[in-house]
């Protein structure tokens, strides 16, 4: 029989009904048996964990129209993935049943309300949000990320400003354990983590945020191209990065805000990329994590080489030979 994946809209052939994976995008889907007896109560919700509806039909006889049933309609507004659009109101859904994010409708919903609703969706329901969000409004996504980054950085700068003395003291204590040349290098970096450096960082946060969002989206899209995961245009990647970047407002959380923001951002970005590009979690994770993993590997490799050089030098010292670093 012929079936259509509700997520990537691709057709595929299968012999069985029930729970299975789409061969195109790898998403889990449930093919209901049309000959099965109807359930006692009408089933309105999709199965837990899949969060999507699918359609399937037996293979048509020769000469049939070959037309597949249309993709399932989006759930009514207010429900999961409905993005808060009231029934009967708001703009029409996009070509794939997509809906604008609440933040893209901030003129109608009000800026603060739209921001909060969008943040809640990105932070708590990234899979549903990024699967259904319209990608032709990437300007709103960039603005969402920009606002979040500015607010998050400003509040974070306040904390850093307040604790600059303690931070400097802690860094100096750490540096005392380093060799002289390394200590000198870190000494130059201390002002950037306290006082005026923090203030400048906060002031340039808007420009930095826009550049970061675009550059991150560009690199991510290039890596998706490399992994054959860029199934949709650049707007999808930019929309994902922009809305995921909104999680940088968590920088406002005292003490561990930057760590929380970073981890949550990466998780949301992987889920969001998998959904918005319809490429599966594996390719999305590879594209998102590869730069970081490569950097870590490179640094670890450099560390091993440096350690080997140090051991060689120590060996030379113990044997009484000349030290050549």
């Amino acid at each position: 029989m012929l079936a259509r994946c509700a997520r990537c809209q691709n057709n595929f052939t299968t012999e069985t009904f029930g729970l299975q994976r789409c061969p195109h995008c790898g998403s889990e889907l449930l093919l209901s048996d049309p000959n099965a007896p109807p359930p006692a109560a009408p089933q309105t919700a999709s199965p837990a964990g899949t969060g999507m509806a699918t359609s399937a039909q037996p293979a048509e006889p020769a000469g049939g129209s070959g037309a597949l049933p249309p993709p399932p309609p989006p759930p009514p507004g207010g429900g999961p993935g409905g993005f808060g659009t009231p029934p009967g109101g708001g703009p029409p859904p996009g070509p794939e049943g997509e809906l604008p994010a609440p933040f893209a409708e901030r003129d109608r919903l009000g800026f603060f309300h739209a921001y909060i609703e969008t943040f809640k969706l990105v932070a708590t329901k990234p899979q549903e949000f990024f699967r259904r969000v319209r990608i032709d409004r990437s300007g709103s996504a960039v603005l969402f990320g920009l606002v979040s980054a500015v607010v998050g950085n400003a509040i974070s700068a306040l904390y850093s400003w307040a604790g600059a003395q303690q931070a400097t003291l802690a860094m100096r204590q750490m540096m005392d354990r380093l060799p002289a040349d390394q200590r000198q290098a870190f000494e130059q970096m201390v002002p950037w983590f306290s006082g005026h450096g923090v203030l400048w960082t906060a002031l340039f946060a808007p420009i930095w945020a826009i550049v970061s969002i675009y550059v991150a989206a560009g690199i991510l899209h290039l890596l998706l191209l490399l992994f054959r995961g860029a199934n949709r245009r650049f707007d999808a990647t930019l929309t994902t990065v922009g809305y995921a970047y909104g999680l940088t407002i968590l920088l406002a959380v005292p003490a561990c805000g930057s760590l929380i923001a970073l981890v949550w951002y990466i998780v949301a970005l992987i889920i969001g990329t998998a959904e918005s590009q319809r490429c599966g979690t594996g390719k999305a994770a590879a594209a998102v994590l590869l730069p970081g993993v490569l950097l870590c590997c490179c640094c670890a490799g450099a560390g091993v080489l440096g350690l080997a050089g140090a051991m060689k030098a120590i060996g030379g010292v113990t044997k009484g030979g000349p030290v050549d670093l």
Binding site: I135, G139, L143, L223, F234, C298, A302, L305, G309
Partner: protein, 151 residues
């Protein structure tokens, strides 16, 4: 990125002020945002005392060896000042990246003013270019480490 030629719905609106309205604003899409970022990086490298900022690579400070992007800032600044030899000595990949980024940025803004269409890059070509860039970065890093380690 073959589909970048198609501007998104509200990026052109937000870019209207930057481009001065009219046809320029209508055609101002993602490629042009990247072009502006590229030219902004040129202005920073050319006119701001970037190398005077006391910031060092943490990986280099800890291990004594360069990270894959070490030397990029020096290369960008050197290219912006027309010192190609110094740029290549700092980081060959950085010099190449700077030159390519700024040439493409300028070309895209000229294209915007002239009103020409953004050339479409086939996906296969784009993929090959990305792979070549990744290989170039790795080769560049290997060469920089070898330069530090070998006498």
């Amino acid at each position: 990125m073959p589909d970048d030629a198609e501007p998104s719905a509200d990026v052109p609106a937000s870019a209207a002020a930057m481009a001065g309205g009219g046809a320029l604003a209508r055609d101002f899409g993602h490629a042009e945002v990247f072009a502006v970022i590229g030219l902004l990086s040129f202005a920073v490298a050319r006119y701001l005392p970037v190398l005077a900022i006391p910031l060092v690579c943490p990986a280099r400070a800890l291990t004594g060896l360069p990270c894959p992007t070490c030397g990029m800032t020096h290369a960008f600044v050197a290219v912006a000042h027309g010192d190609v030899a110094a740029a290549l000595a700092a980081s060959p990949a950085g010099a190449l990246l700077a030159a390519l980024a700024w040439l493409l940025s300028a070309a895209d803004l000229v294209r915007l003013v002239v009103g020409a269409r953004l050339p479409a890059v086939p996906e296969r070509t784009a993929r090959l270019l990305v792979a070549a860039g990744a290989v170039a970065l790795v080769v560049n890093w290997t060469w920089m480490i070898a330069r530090e380690l070998l006498p």
